[in-house]
């Protein structure tokens, strides 16, 4: 199964080079690579489920000198989600970009982004995490600026600066850790680190950098313009995966590596910021005039929910109740990944067919683009957190944790956020169902509609109805 780990990094990297060298058959190469990566991610998950957490040292160099890859239940799940979302978005992109030159610029960066995502999720030490984070940020910025429009370039530039600032803060924290403990290996650090000024400062620096990258309120200012002006497949992946990679690191640091260092008060702070994100993001999504802005603000809100779990996780005693809550957190993150990707892909279809994405002028979309509207509705079910989506199970655990620990304020925030989410989704659907006769039906492109539909079905049906194994997988730690 270690082959699968190597494959997850090597395949997209090789694919990126191949698409660079063979621009004419880039699409075929990219889709083929994507299929291979997805198989590898599936195998890895199977391996982790059957054999437990996996560890591999490249070239036999042990931690400290060489590069070590590691995978546990959490990273294997996120790797598979990444693979499925990227594959669906790749199929979509093969129809979305019509000219050869567009594709030739798109595919190498796309596969590079995929490489850095996979490498980040497999990294076992802080320095590699820093490198992959930087690589991820750069490839994301490059993809976001591909549209070439003025707004896209301006937003991408801001995205670049924010990303660099975030990475630098992260690197400063890494430096402190190395100076203090002499190792960057996560497993070794988890044993060595104790509460103290060095650990606190390092954690604060790294967390601040990551919060900037994951766009937690009030550091979210860069996200809506960047995500709303990129092309549809890129927006999908930025919102579904890239911000979540930074969130994954926060989760790792807070719950695994720095578990002895974090305090309930610090977790409460994250919870408060998360609550701000939920309320402000949902409110702005409700006010948005364009679909893509709505989706981007919704990402700000949805990331907020994930941070609401931190005060609960720290208040719950280690044991089944805490594992249930942690599973709910991951379930919510996975569902959002699929749902948000689907939403952005569907919006892309509307934008291409109607020439705009102004919500007020969407009347009649349900009649003209039934499959796309259905995808938006399904993704909406998952974003609101209604059954049978995975988000329903996630929010259930969030509410249960809030009740069990007596932290009622998070319950109220979740309830208000969900109702606001319902309001902004219904606003779109209300217009879509509206009446406006159209003489000619537009051509529907299956390669665009199916990825959006399947991703939405993953979020709204599969994860909710068949997601129980997630809790078992998460218990497979490092």
């Amino acid at each position: 199964m270690t082959d699968a780990m190597i494959g997850l990094v090597a395949l997209p990297l090789a694919g990126a080079l191949a698409t660079l060298l063979l621009p004419r058959s880039a699409t075929a190469v990219a889709i083929g690579t994507g299929l291979a990566i997805t198989v590898a991610a599936g195998l890895l998950l199977f391996g982790v489920a059957t054999q437990g957490a996996l560890h591999y040292e490249i070239g036999g160099w042990s931690a400290g000198l060489g590069i070590a890859l590691r995978a546990d239940g959490l990273s294997a799940l996120l790797l598979l989600m990444t693979a499925l979302v990227m594959l669906a978005a790749s199929v979509y992109a093969s129809a979305y970009f019509s000219t050869v030159s567009e594709r030739a610029r798109f595919w190498p960066l796309w596969l590079l982004l995929w490489t850095s995502l996979n490498a980040l999720l497999l990294s076992g030490d802080l320095f590699n995490l820093y490198v992959t984070l930087e690589l991820l940020g750069l490839s994301a910025v490059a993809l976001a600026s591909l549209g070439g429009k003025r707004a896209a370039v301006a937003a991408a530039l801001r995205y670049l600066l924010v990303g660099l600032l975030g990475s630098m803060m992260f690197l400063a924290g890494v430096g402190l850790i190395y100076a203090g403990y002499g190792t960057l290996d996560l497993a070794q650090l988890a044993l060595a680190i104790g509460a103290g000024p060095v650990a606190w400062t390092a954690l604060a620096l790294m967390t601040a950098g990551l919060l900037l990258k994951t766009a937690l309120f009030p550091l979210h200012f860069w996200l809506p313009p960047a995500h709303a002006s990129a092309s549809a497949p890129v927006s999908a992946v930025l919102s579904a995966l890239v911000v979540k990679a930074a969130f994954y690191l926060v989760l790792r640091l807070w719950l695994d590596v720095f578990a002895n260092v974090v305090t309930p008060a610090a977790a409460d702070l994250l919870g408060v910021l998360g609550a701000g994100a939920v309320l402000w993001g949902s409110w702005r999504a409700l006010q948005a005039e364009r679909l893509k802005l709505l989706a981007a603000w919704s990402t700000v809100a949805q990331l907020g929910y994930l941070f609401l779990f931190f005060p609960l996780l720290l208040a719950l005693p280690p044991g089944p109740a805490r594992e249930l809550a942690a599973g709910g957190l991951v379930m919510l993150a996975l569902t959002h990944g699929f749902a948000k990707a689907s939403l952005f892909l569907a919006i892309g279809i509307i934008q291409q067919r109607c020439g705009h994405d102004t919500i007020r002028e969407l009347d009649g979309t349900a009649q003209r683009l039934p499959a796309t509207t259905f995808a938006i509705a399904l993704a909406g079910v998952a974003l609101i957190g209604l059954p049978p989506s995975g988000a329903f199970l996630g929010k259930w655990q969030l509410l249960a944790g809030a009740v069990a620990t007596g932290q009622w304020v998070w319950l109220v925030v979740t309830a208000i956020g969900s109702l606001l989410a319902a309001a902004y989704i219904v606003r779109v659907l209300g217009h879509a169902f509206g009446h406006r006769p159209y003489p000619n039906l537009p051509v529907s492109v299956a390669r665009e509609e199916w990825p959006a539909l399947l991703l939405a079905a993953m979020a709204a049906l599969v994860l909710g109805l068949a997601g129980a194994p997630v809790w078992g997988l998460l218990e497979i730690g490092t």
Binding site: P320, L324, G327, G328, M331, A366, Q367, P370, V381, I384, L386, P387, P388, F392, L393, W396, Q397, L399, A400, V403, A404, L411, A415, S418, L419, A422, A423, V426, L429, G430, F433, G434, H435, G464, L465, G467, A468, W471
Partner: protein, 500 residues
């Protein structure tokens, strides 16, 4: 294959799968769509027949699927669920036939019938839910799949009505969800067990249990249209007639009432709920709703709106019966679940017939309509008289048991005046309609005659459903003592609930 575990799943799937297939049919494939719809409805009826027989003989049908650790999706058939499943299945079959006629040549029929089937699947799933968690899932699903049906026409009015509907029901759903989660944290998975399970919890939980009860009933009360949570219902009238019929008789409103019955009897236990002092509050809310709905119905000229407010009033009889301690009151409440459904669906079918055939939407336009459409008007009259409580129509049986139950429970002092006032008001808003329809001279022309009188007064698919349901309403009253009648079944439920 384990038949006992699969039967509840099949009952849900027999409408779910045809519904999903119908989404993908082209608009033109009218026959295939009709065949799928009817095949699903008839298959469901057969399966439900087996279910009734099995449950009567104390056979256990249960399917279980784990969604997350400690959270199981459970479908379980007991006497109460079978009652509701049977009602939904029979009325779905009738409504499907009606809708096929009603929507002839209308646009987006695949979408309509797809969601229509999903709506019934959600209702049946909710009826068969074996624990509160499963109930919440199907309750929310029902909200989702009825939204496109209410918005179906796509007019600004329809979209607005649907938005109001969704605002209310999602808000209610959130309260229900919070209550359910709270209860789950307190007491673990809450399975529906006859007689309730919460009575065994220690006394220090009682204040929390009262709060939870309030949350649950408020959440359910939105769908059940308990005043002041009923505001969505008159707006949802913009839906096509078959949708209104289904919404009022079986699906949405009834789901809320059914949930109240479940929570009181099978979660808290009626004796424990009474011990906590929760039944009085519920009874007062029901009584206020009954009177308020009737008064509002009196003020409406729009026929469908009058019927809508009548629903507000009539559905609360079920909650009232729940609040009356003792088996007789229980029987009255539960049997009204069925009786109100049959009678109300007849009224909505008839109202739809008037609108489709002659363009009549208002009570004031109904002068002499009995001469032009005698069969429809006869069905309407039977159902209206039943609503008032005139024997031998089904509604009389419900009111009789409610009154008797109140006497037995020593609550007659306030239940009786409510019942009498409501019956008087029912008569006040239904009898003038009947008088106009039968005895006034018709005007020179109907508002908009769409379907000319030929062999029947309107097309056959529109005519037979109300006639059949009116006969059912009559039969449920005339043969109330026959085996397997709604009353007998409600008696069986009450016996099992009280452990008699």
């Amino acid at each position: 294959m384990n038949w006992d575990a699969w039967l509840p799943v099949l009952v849900v799937a027999s409408s779910l799968l045809p519904g999903l297939v119908i989404f993908f049919l082209r608009e033109g494939s009218h026959r295939l769509r009709t065949a799928l719809n009817l095949a699903g409805a008839i298959l469901k009826l057969l399966l439900v027949g087996i279910l009734i027989w099995g449950v009567f003989h104390e056979h256990v049908y249960e399917s279980r699927w784990t969604l997350a650790p400690g959270l199981d999706l459970v479908l379980h058939a007991d006497t109460l669920s079978v009652l509701f499943v049977t009602l939904s299945t029979v009325l779905w079959l009738v409504t499907t036939i009606y809708a096929i006629g009603y929507l002839e040549n209308a646009p987006h029929r695949s979408r309509f019938f797809g969601f229509f089937s999903l709506c019934v699947s959600a209702t049946v799933g909710l009826a068969l839910a074996g624990n509160l968690f499963t109930f919440v899932i199907f309750f929310e699903l029902l909200t989702l799949v009825t939204y496109p049906l209410v918005a179906h026409r796509g007019t600004p009015e329809a979209v607005r009505g649907a938005r109001i509907y969704l605002t209310y029901t999602l808000g209610g759903g959130m309260l229900l969800l919070i209550g359910t989660v709270w209860l789950h944290v307190l007491a673990g998975p809450t399975a529906f067990v006859e007689g309730g399970t919460l009575g065994s919890l220690p006394a220090e939980y009682h204040p929390q249990l009262k709060m939870i009860f309030l949350l649950l009933i408020m959440g359910l009360g939105v769908k059940a249209a308990l005043v002041p949570l009923h505001g969505w219902l008159p707006h949802a009238m913009v839906a096509p007639a078959p949708v209104s019929a289904l919404l009022h008789a079986v699906a949405v409103v009834k789901a809320g009432a059914f949930g109240i019955v479940r929570v009181v009897y099978d979660v808290y236990g009626v004796n424990f709920a009474d011990q906590l002092g929760l039944l009085t509050g519920l009874g007062i809310a029901a009584a206020v709703t009954i009177v308020y709905g009737s008064v509002m119905a009196l003020l409406q000229d729009n026929l469908k709106k009058r019927l809508a407010y009548s629903t507000v009033s009539q559905v609360s009889y079920i909650a009232l019966g729940t609040a009356i301690l003792g088996p007789i009151g229980t029987i009255g409440g539960i049997v009204h679940l069925v009786h109100q459904g049959i009678m109300k669906i007849t009224l909505f079918f008839a109202a739809g017939n008037y609108a489709e055939t002659l363009g009549i939407h208002k009570v004031s336009e109904m002068n002499g309509v009995g001469r032009r459409m005698p069969a429809t008007t006869l069905a309407f009259s039977v159902a209206a008289l039943g609503m008032i409580g005139v024997p031998p129509v089904a509604g009389f049986v419900s009111k009789w048991y409610l009154g008797l139950g109140a006497l037995e429970a020593g609550m007659a002092a306030w239940v009786m005046p409510v019942l009498i006032a409501s019956s008087v008001l029912n008569a006040a808003y239904f009898l003038p309609v009947l008088y106009r329809a039968w005895f006034r001279e018709p005007g020179p022309a109907w508002p908009a005659e769409h379907i000319p009188a030929a062999r029947f007064e309107t097309s056959a698919t529109l005519l037979w459903p109300p006639v059949v349901t009116a006969m059912l309403a009559l039969a449920a009253g005339l043969f109330a003592a026959a085996p397997y009648s709604p009353l007998e079944w409600a008696t069986l439920i009450a016996h099992r609930e009280y452990g008699l």
